[in-house]
Amino acid sequence: MASLVGSRVERKEDKKLLTGRGRYTADVNFVHQTFAYFVRSPHARAQIKKVDTSKALKSPGVVSILTGADIVNDKIGGLIAGWRIKSEDGSDMKVPPHPPLASDTVNYVGDHVAVVIAETLDEARNAAELVKVDYKILKAVVSTKDAMSSDQIYKDIPKNMCFDWLLGDRAKVKEAFDKADKIIKIDLVNNRLIPNAMEPRAANADYNPSTEEITLYTTSQNPHLARIIISAFNGVAPENKLRVIAPDVGGGFGSKIYPYAEEVVCSWAAKKIERPVKWVADRTESFLSDCHGRDHVTHAELAVKNDGTFLGFKNETIANLGAYASVFGTVTPTYLFGPCATGVYKMPAAYSNVKAVYTNTAPVDAYRGAGRPEATYTIETLVEKAARELGMDPAEIRMKNFPTQFPFQQTLVHSVDSGDYVGGLNKAMEIADYKGFEKRKRESASKGKLRGIGLCSYFEACGIAPSPVVMMLGCGIGLWESAEVRFNPTGNVTVFTGSHSHGQGHDTTFAQIAADQLGVPIENIEIAHGDTDKGPFGYGTYGSRSLTVGGTAIVKACDKIIAKGKRVAAKMLEASVDDIEFSNGEFVVAKSNKKKTIGEVAFACYLPGTYGEVKSPLPEGDEPGLKETSFFDPVNFSFPAGSHICEVEVDPDTGETKLVKYTAVDDFGTIINPLVVEGQVHGGLAQGIGQALYENCHYDESGQLITASYMDYTMPRADNFPEFNLGFTCTPATSNPLGTKGCGEAGAIAAPPAVMNAVMNAIGTEISMPATAEKVWKACNKNKKRNSEAA
């Protein structure tokens, strides 16, 4: 049987998903179901003086209305910050309480105040309008940059600062900077984004009063995590009485890793009223209350020699956490950001200092790339600026500072096991016809257009591991992954993974891996995930971890299956275990034609006897059945890397930027399914380009969200993109047996600097993301004015 790893197997899940046969949380309905509608704060910051539900309770169809007071009475715990960060001075981070329904203050527009539960959604919504909340409006803190000098939001959190974190060595950096020929400085804003998963968040909780069990269907990237949080922290039900199912999920991009107030409230309310409670966000609720992404204000400096050698780097960042510390809100701007700050370069000295602040905006958490796009944007625009100021070619300055020996120990944290940064950039330059740029630029100029080229060389640290290190750094959970490989008696296979597919294509990629390992046809393998009652505990899908961590767990479980299979086959074939060889789904006695297929072995394991005589195929000590579980905790992250080259054409009359050419060369180690990987790259690029040119979350001064619908929040569309030129290099990862590295976030990490470097190259001026037409037009005008004055 030919190996499936490396082949373009069409996605098994697409038939279902593309023909409308997917089953999403909103498709799940229970008999006797009720509908929840949340009363949300219309103010960015206010004291709740009184919540009057008396009129709303009389509204037709209303079953129950629950408020913050009920949360307090029932001792329902608050939402949690999942990663504890210490400040440079050793003090613990400061975290405000975050009750699922607010009882005394609201802290962003969309904050949860009450829930109305009614027989129909319309009835719930109509009654919600009658809930009278008496607010005392307070001055909102909105600006990231000014948060530390604004009004104090929480009594015990001075300067609105959660922590002031340092990674690196200030003294060494100072030394390096003292020796530099030149210091390159940059001030950046990493624009705030709204995740915009295609499927809005939803929850449907069913309670069985006789067994006291809650079944919660929810839009989650990680149902196991939802279960443990809702049980252990919110205290809604013990873990054994809470089943969480994340069925088909229409995208998450980080925003669905953890449970929100709505899931907690629906589960708790279902138990309270003893009826199922369903909630589905409308799009505006998604804009208001899904956790947002990015939102950094950064000052960074690079110390260089005149020949372009990097000597040192420093990064001072203010990161906006929004109104509360969300589950991965505190790790995103620290351990996911800081260690990647020096990019793909040899950097003798470096530090990253991050001050995380609270503001009266929606909480900010992981969003595709989480911390790594922010880090990459900083170093890659800074490196490009260094090239400009030193009069060097941007490719040359990168090449000069790339490490060429691997493993490569970076200055800050990571020991990068493998890579070929020089080869990757060379390949990208070749595909992009880097040399031909000047000619293309002249052609554009003859049409009155400004053409620019931009580079980005990036690396990513994904598949966070190993768990003891992660927990030492403050993480509230481990980050291993589980797999259970279960042969059914008739010889086909169900593989349970603790990760979760919500667009990534696990049903196909993971089946390819299992098919190769077990020698079973791919159509006989089913991948199961997303149900805490089906498979073992797991940690879900985010941070480009599923294949390297979860895929490896599948390999390990398959190894155990084969080990047992060898013992059983040996007994069946009356041979020694040491003589049994396994390949292509067959156990063969060495140097003979005696063999048993893995299907026959599985059958024998489940029916261990012989008609008419007492004879078992199982060796002594082996139990019946053929099912093995593995919990894999990798020794290190995986480190994908690559170089992207973008070309844009700017119309100076309108400022419109057209992406005319985009080349991405990535090293994801071993590629299991190129079709799926290319899809992941395309999607990541779309989001990265979206951040660079279009997307921007905008709050006004009072904290009202102006971009609260697709009328104002610019999602990129297909016609905004050129054909992407993709290329791959391969240095297999050494930290997992497959040799794979994560690929999900690469595009979102590399694209923003590549695009912005191209825009800035075209117009010759620094501008901030997103490079909207008006911003670019103004920059072009300023240049024109300057040029005419100079003339």
């Binding site: 309108t654 400022g655 905008h698």
Partner: protein
């Protein structure tokens, strides 16, 4: 969504009779229905006029093109008569919204709504349209009164829009990158003896830029546009485009339109 009474009128007279100060006519429903669903509008009565056959259809004569009020955008875009008589109008219809909107939205609905960034109002102004209602004929210049405001009275129904066929014309717009509504749309039409330059998206209501029109009447060439002052005063300013940028875009797109004529 609040409940309402639904009526389906069989003719214009019945539709008009059912109308009240608390009712809405329903044609394509591309604005009305989302407004109701979002709770931005509530009505006691919704009067469906889609089944009134006389309100739909396209009639071309030598001088004018008459389009029934409930004619869908897709029908205007695909109509041989429109493409022949006023190709820029067919192109405008082709560029409204997305396929779903074009398959349901109607010309009468668009101009009755008079969204400040809608496309059709600019065509009405540029093409000297006459709005035929069940009680009178209104010139386009007098029809569009202000933001979402028209000369229509309660119970008055648009029956058709009659466009003058120009010598040449073209419509160019800069779509809002988020919503794809016009941030600025410029409809240039050269008629015998006069030029109209209708601008949508820039102000609270569509208007004819008299200065541009005058300059182009004298010399129908994009080169004259640079000499015309386009003041940003009174123009919309929002997160997508400042007034100053809109004024620039009028100039750029007026040139494009003239060059494409």
């Amino acid at each position: 969504m609040k409940t309402f009474n639904y009526h389906s009128a069989k003719d214009v007279k019945e539709a008009s009779k059912l109308a009240s100060s608390n009712s809405a006519f329903l044609a394509g429903g591309m604005t009305t229905i989302p407004s109701i669903k979002l709770g931005l509008a509530t009505y006691k009565d919704i009067i469906n006029i889609k089944n009134i056959k006389s309100l739909s259809g396209i009639k071309a004569s030598s001088k004018t093109l008459k389009i029934g009020a409930t004619t869908k955008h897709v029908e205007v875009a695909n109509s041989k008569d429109v493409k022949k008589a006023i190709p820029s109008l067919a192109a405008l219809a082709e560029g409204i919204g997305d396929p779903q909107v074009r398959n349901r939205g109607t010309i009468g609905g668009s101009i009755a709504n008079n969204d400040p960034s809608a496309d059709y109002p600019s065509a009405c102004i540029a093409l000297n349209a006459v709005i035929h209602t069940n009680s009178r004929k209104i010139e386009a210049e007098k029809f569009f009164k202000g933001m979402f405001e028209t000369a229509l009275k309660s119970g008055e129904i648009i029956e058709a829009i009659e466009f003058s066929i120009p010598e040449k014309s073209n419509y160019q717009k800069y779509p809002n990158p988020a919503s794809r509504y016009a941030v600025v749309g410029v409809y240039v039409a050269k008629h015998k003896g006069e030029v109209n330059v209708a601008v949508t998206g820039a102000k609270s209501c569509v208007y004819n830029d008299k200065d541009l029109a005058k300059a182009l009447s004298k010399n129908f060439s994009s080169s004259v546009i640079d000499n015309v002052k386009i003041s940003s005063s009174g123009m919309n300013s929002d997160i997508h485009a400042s007034a100053e940028y809109r004024a620039n875009m009028i100039r750029v797109f007026a040139k494009k339109a003239v060059e494409a004529c």
